[in-house]
Symmetry: D2
Subunit: 382 residues, 4 copies
C-alpha cells in the first residue's frame, strides 16, 4: 500500500489535482496523504481549503507559510519557510511518493524538501512553456522529479529532450480536463446568494464575461497598470462581468489596490461582481457559459478549449503554452483588449478541442503511481 502525499498550495493547484486525489483515494493499492498550504488557507484569497474539505479531502497538515509583503523578497522567504515546515511534515507522514502540481513557489518548496529527504517525486503539468518565474521553476522541478506526468505530446518530448529517463515519463493528459469530460459542472447559477462576493447582482441569462488576471512576477512592478488596462476595457464594454481576485504572487497587493480604487471611483455595481474564488465545479460552469474569458489564467489555455469557450489572453504569462484556436492573444492595452473581446463575442463558441487531454488523466496517474518503479537515483540520460 503506497502512501502518496499530494501537496496543494493554491486554488489552482487543487483544480489541477482534484481528479487525481479522487483516483488515489479510490485506488485499493494507494493511500492518500494530503498537505494543504499557502494561499489555499487564507481568507483573503478565498480559503479554498474549505472546498477541499467539502469534497471529502481532510488535510493531514495545514502549512501556513506566506510571509506577507507582496514583494519579491517575501516570495523567496515564503519558499524558505515552506521548505522548513514541509520537511518536518514529510518526516511525520513518511510518504512513499510526493505528488506536486506544476510550477509555483509553494510547489518547489515541496519538491526540494522531498528531494533532500530521498522521497520519490512526481510532477504534473510539466514540460510546458510559459512566462513569469513559473517557467524557470517548472523545469527546475522537472530536474528534481523522478516521475513525470506531462499533459501533451509536445511537453513529453521536451521532458525527454531535457534528459529525463523515458521509462519514467508518462503522457497522461491534463487532470483539469477530466472534470469537463466527466461533466463536473455545477449548473446552479445562483452564485450571488451562494457565494456572496462584492458588487451587484448580475443577470447571467444575458451574455456575460469572466475575468481572471494574475500578477506576472517578472514584471511585478507593472502589476497595477496591467490590471488597470483590463478594468478600463471592461468598463468601456459594461457587459455583465464576473471577476475573480488575483492570486497571491508578488504584485497582488498592487493589483488589489488597483481594483479597490477602481471600484471606489466608478459606478460598477450594475455590471461587475467580484469573487475571491469559487468552488471548482461552479467556476467550470461559468467558464462554459460565459461569452468570453479575459485575463491570463491557465484555464483559458487548458480547460477553455475543451469547452469551446472564447478567450482573450493578455500579456506574457501564458507565452509559449500550446494553445487551440479559441485564444486571441493581446498586449496590456485597453483598446486591443476591447477589440479582442468584441471579436470573440462575435465569434461565439468554438468547436471543442482536446489538446490538453481526453479526461482520464487522474485515473491513469493513480494507476501508474500504484505500480511504477520507485528509485531515488536518477541521472541525466546524456
Amino acid at each position: 500500500m503506497r502512501k502518496v502525499c499530494v501537496v496543494v498550495s493554491s486554488h489552482t493547484d487543487y483544480v489541477g489535482v482534484k481528479t487525481i486525489m479522487q483516483a488515489i483515494k479510490e485506488h485499493e493499492d494507494l493511500e492518500l496523504q494530503f498537505i494543504v498550504g499557502g494561499s489555499a488557507l487564507l481568507e483573503r484569497f478565498g480559503a479554498s481549503v474549505n472546498y477541499m474539505i467539502d469534497d471529502g479531502f481532510a488535510p493531514d497538515a495545514q502549512i501556513y507559510m506566506e510571509v506577507e509583503g507582496d514583494n519579491l523578497m517575501t516570495m523567496a522567504k515564503t519558499v524558505g519557510l515552506a521548505i522548513i515546515e514541509t520537511a518536518v511534515t514529510l518526516e511525520r507522514l513518511q510518504p512513499d511518493i510526493v505528488l506536486i502540481v506544476g510550477d509555483r513557489y509553494e510547489t518547489i518548496s515541496a519538491a526540494i524538501a522531498a528531494s533532500y529527504m530521498n522521497i520519490p517525486l512526481a510532477q504534473t503539468m510539466c514540460g510546458e512553456i510559459s512566462g513569469t518565474i513559473d517557467e524557470h521553476i517548472r523545469h527546475a522541478i522537472t530536474k528534481l522529479a523522478h516521475i513525470h506526468f506531462p499533459a501533451t505530446r509536445l511537453s513529453e518530448q521536451r521532458i525527454l529532450r531535457m534528459g529525463e529517463d523515458p521509462e519514467h515519463v508518462y503522457m497522461v493528459g491534463c487532470p483539469t480536463v477530466d472534470r469537463i469530460i466527466n461533466g463536473a459542472q455545477d449548473d446552479n447559477l445562483d452564485i450571488f446568494d451562494r457565494f456572496k462576493g462584492v458588487g451587484g447582482r448580475l443577470d447571467l441569462s444575458e451574455p456575460f464575461l469572466l475575468a481572471m488576471q494574475h500578477p506576472v512576477t517578472t514584471e511585478y512592478q507593472d502589476a497595477r497598470r496591467q490590471i488597470e488596462e483590463t478594468l478600463s476595457a471592461l468598463q468601456t464594454l459594461k457587459m455583465p462581468t464576473i471577476m475573480i481576485w488575483p492570486n497571491i504572487d508578488a504584485g497582488h497587493a498592487a493589483m488589489a489596490k488597483g481594483i479597490r480604487t477602481f471600484r471606489e471611483n466608478n459606478e460598477v455595481d450594475n455590471w461587475l461582481h467580484m469573487f475571491k474564488n469559487l468552488p471548482p465545479d461552479v467556476f467550470l460552469n461559468l467558464l462554459d457559459k460565459c461569452a468570453c474569458l479575459i485575463g491570463n489564467s491557465n484555464c483559458g489555455i487548458r480547460e477553455a478549449p475543451a469547452l469551446g469557450t472564447p478567450v482573450v489572453n493578455i500579456g506574457t504569462r501564458q507565452k509559449g503554452r500550446e494553445r487551440a484556436s479559441n485564444v486571441i492573444d493581446v498586449d496590456y492595452n485597453r483598446h486591443k483588449i476591447i477589440d479582442a473581446i468584441l471579436t470573440q463575442y462575435a465569434h461565439g463558441k468554438y468547436t471543442p478541442n482536446f489538446l490538453y487531454g481526453d479526461g482520464r488523466a487522474g485515473k491513469r496517474i493513480a494507476d501508474i503511481l500504484a505500480t511504477c518503479e520507485l528509485n531515488i537515483n536518477k541521472r541525466m540520460t546524456y
Copy 2:
C-alpha cells in the same frame, strides 16, 4: 559598474571560485560582493572562512544556516533557513548578478532566492554528471540560471540539449584548474606545525597518501560502513596518510563517529594524520606530491589529472563525471581499495591531462560577467 555577488558555502565552493573572485576584484567594470555561509563558517568543519579573509576577501554577510542533526530532514530545513536569510541579504546588497558554484544545498538556496528576486543567476561547474543528490540539484539550478559556465565541451552540450539559450552558455574551463596552471601551490610542507590537526607527525619525504571521502546523501545510512572500508584498507597499508575530514552532507556524523572510533581502537599515530581542511594552496601542493589520492572528492576528477596525480575513486559519488586515465574506480570494498592503491602506487605520476580547462577560466568568467546581456526572462529553446 556591475555588482557580482559570489555565494560560497563550503571549502570546496571556495576552491572552485577563488580565481573568479580574484578576477572580479581586479576587473575595473565589476564590483565584488561576497556572501559566505554554511559549513565554511563552522569550526567543526575547519572554518575555512578564515582562509578567505586571509586571501583578502572580507565577507559582506556571514550566513549561519546549518540546522544540526546530520539527517536528511535537517538538510532540507537548512535549505529553508538559508533561503530566508539569503533573500534578506540580497535585498540589502542589491547585486546585478549572483554567481554560484555547482550543486550543493547551500547553492540551490542562493539560486532560489535570486530567482524569485529577479536577479540574474550565473552557475559554474554546470552540465556535469555525478552521483548523490548533487546530480539532481545541479541540473535544477541550471534551469534557474541565466548564465552558464560549463567546464568542458560535453557539459556545454548537455546544457544546450537541456534547452538553454546558446547565447548564454560559455565553455570556459574549470576555475579549479586555473590555480594549478598559475602555480598556486604552497610548497611549505611543514603542515603539522602550521595547521595542527590530530595524529602523528608524518615524514612527507616518504611516499604518502592523501585521503578524502565524503558522505553520499542518497546512500546516507551506509555512510559509516563506507568510511570503515576505506580506513581498513589504509590500516592494512600503513603508508603515511593525510586524511581530510568528511564534509557536512547528511551522513557526516556517522562517518565522523566511524573515524573517531577507529582512532580510539587502533594505534594510528605513526601513519595517520587528520585535518579538518587545509588552505587551498597547501592542499594543492599535497595533491601534487602525494603518491595517490583516495576517496570520492571532486578534486580527483578535476584537479588531479592536470597534476598527473593517481587517484583511487571510491563508490558512486563521481559516477558519470568525465575523467582522465589517472582514475581507477572501485566499489566500497577494502580489498579492492588496497589493490587499486597498490596499482596506482606502482604506476606513479600520469602525464598531465587538461580536460577540465586551460587555466584561464576565472579571467574569462569575469570578462563575460562584465559585458554579457542581463535579462531575467528566459524560456526553454524548444
Copy 3:
C-alpha cells in the same frame, strides 16, 4: 558615542517612540539605529513606515516577519521568524543598546534576540497592567530588560516590586504625551483628500466620533462579534465617524470581514469614513477635536486624558491600566456603548489630566541612555 537601536513594528509603536527617536537623533553622544518591521511595513495595515521616512527616520533594516493566517499559531510563528531576522540584523548593526516599546509580539522578538546576544535592553511603557496577551508579554520583557522607563509612579513601583534594580528604573513619563504638550497636532482637517481612505466625505465641523477597536488575542474567536456590537452602536447614532482599521493581532481578519460585510450591507457613506491609519500628528488632532473616542485603544487611556477627550473604552483590552476620569468603561454590548457615548457627548471635554507624563519623556530617555551604566548581568533583587 553609543549606538541605540530602536525597534518599531507597528504604527502604535512609532507613536510611542517618535519623540525618543528625535531626542536620540539630536543627542551628541548618541547615534540612532532604526529597525522597522511587522505591520508597519504592510500596505494592508497602512504601511506607516512611510510616515517614519517622511519624518526623517530612514530605516537601517526592514524586517518582513508576518506569517499570514490571522490565528494564534501564525502569531507564534511570526515571533519565531522575527527573532531569526532580528538577531541577524543586530549582529550587523552592533548596537550598544536596544530600545523597545511595550508589549507586542514583535517587541518580545527583539527583546529575546537582544538578550541572547548580550545587548543591553531598554523598555518603555513597562510596569503597566492591561488585558490580552500583551499583559503577560510586557512583564516578561521587563524581566529581560536592563533599563526600565515606566511612565507612571505606580508602574515604577510595580517594576521595583518585581525585583528589578532601582538604579536602572527611571520614571520618565510616557513619550506619547510629549507630542501633546509640544503641540505636535497637525491642524489641517482636510483628511479625506490627503489620506483617501474609504467612505463618504464627512463634515468635521460638526461634532464627530473617532473609533478604533483592536482584537483581543485571548478572546480572539469572539473578535467579529465584538466589532459588530460597536458598529451597530455607531450605526444607531449615525454621527460623523472616523474609524481606524484594527491592528494585525490575531482576530483582525475576522474583524475586517465584519467591517467589510457591514459596509456592504448598510448605507454608511454619509456618516462613516475608514482609514487604515493616519500620520501620528494628524491623528492627534482628531483625538483632540472629536466629541468622543470609542474602542479599546491605548490612546484613550494615555493621550486622551492629557487632551481632555472623552473616551468610551470597550471590553477587557485596557483592563487594569491606570486611567483618568475621562474614560467610561463598557462591555461588548451595543446598548451600553450607545449609552456611554451619549453620556460622554453630553459631558464634553474634561479637564486635562497628565497622569501619563509631563511631556519631557523623550528627552529624558535620551539623556539617560547616553550616560547610564550598561551591564548585561542583572539579578533579581530579592
Copy 4:
C-alpha cells in the same frame, strides 16, 4: 482527561522532569504528550533522547532546532526556529497544558509558542536565582506561566513577590530529588564497557572525581580559559576523574576545543575519562559515589546536598542559588580549584540536606495538573 505536553530539550531538562513524566503517565486523569528537541536529539551531545525512549517515553515530536555556530547570534536564531516548529507541533497536539522546565533557550521557545496560542503554561524550577542568561529567561518565563512549581520556600516567595497569583503557585520541591529518595541509582559501575566514552578505564573503587562544567553565555568569550583552569587543576591532582562534556550553550565549541587540545597535548588516559553524558540513574550513582563534584552544574546545588556529596562550584553560573554546606564556591582559578578539591576530599561526605525537596515533587505536580483551574487570563497581583 487533560493532555499535558512536556517539552524536553536537553539532558538536564530530562533529569528535571523524569519523575513528573512518570507520574503523569500513571495518572488516570492525565494523558502525557512529549516533545523532545534541541541538544537531546544530537549525537554530538549524547543524544539523550535514547535514554528517554529506553525509559518508555516515546516522543510525539522531535524538533531539530539547533542552528550551528556556537555564538550568541545562533542561540537567538535557534530560539526563533524552535518557536516556529513548536507552534506547529502544539497546533497538532492540542494539549490542555504545556509543562516546561526552568530557564533554557529551548524552554522559552516553548513558553512563547504556548503563550501566544492561549495554552496554559506550567513551569518548574522557577523563582530561583542564578548566573548566565538563564537568570533572565527563568523569570521572563515565570511572567508568561500560569502555573508555578517552585522547589523551595524562598523561590515560592520570590514568585509571589513578582506578582503571581498565590492560587497558582505550588511549592512542591524539586523533581530531581525524587529520584534520590526513591533510590533510582543504577549501581552497576561498569560504565566504561557500557557507555564507552573516550579515555582510559579507571579504577572506580579508588576515590574518584566527577567533573561537569558548562559555558556561561554572559561570559562566553572566556569559555576556553574557564575550562582550561579546571583541566589544569585536575591535571595537577591526577585523581581518577570522570568528566561530562559541556552542554550546547554558546561557548561550548571553544570549551570542546580546549578539552580536545588538552587531551592531545597531555597524557591523560590514566586518570581522565570523558562521556558526552550518561543515563540519569547511572550519573546519580556516580554523583553519590564520587569524592567530589567539580564544575558549575545545577546538580551540585540540587541533588548533591541530598546525597551529602562534596561540591566545588566554579564561577558565576550558580551565583545566587540557595545552597547547603556541601558546596565550596571558587573563582575560575586553578590554584583555588585545587585547594577546594583537597579541602572537600579531606572532609568527605556531608550530612544529607533536603533543602530542594522531600522526594514527592513529581507525584504532587501530576495531581495538581489534574485538578487545578486552567485559565489563560492572568494579571499581575499589584
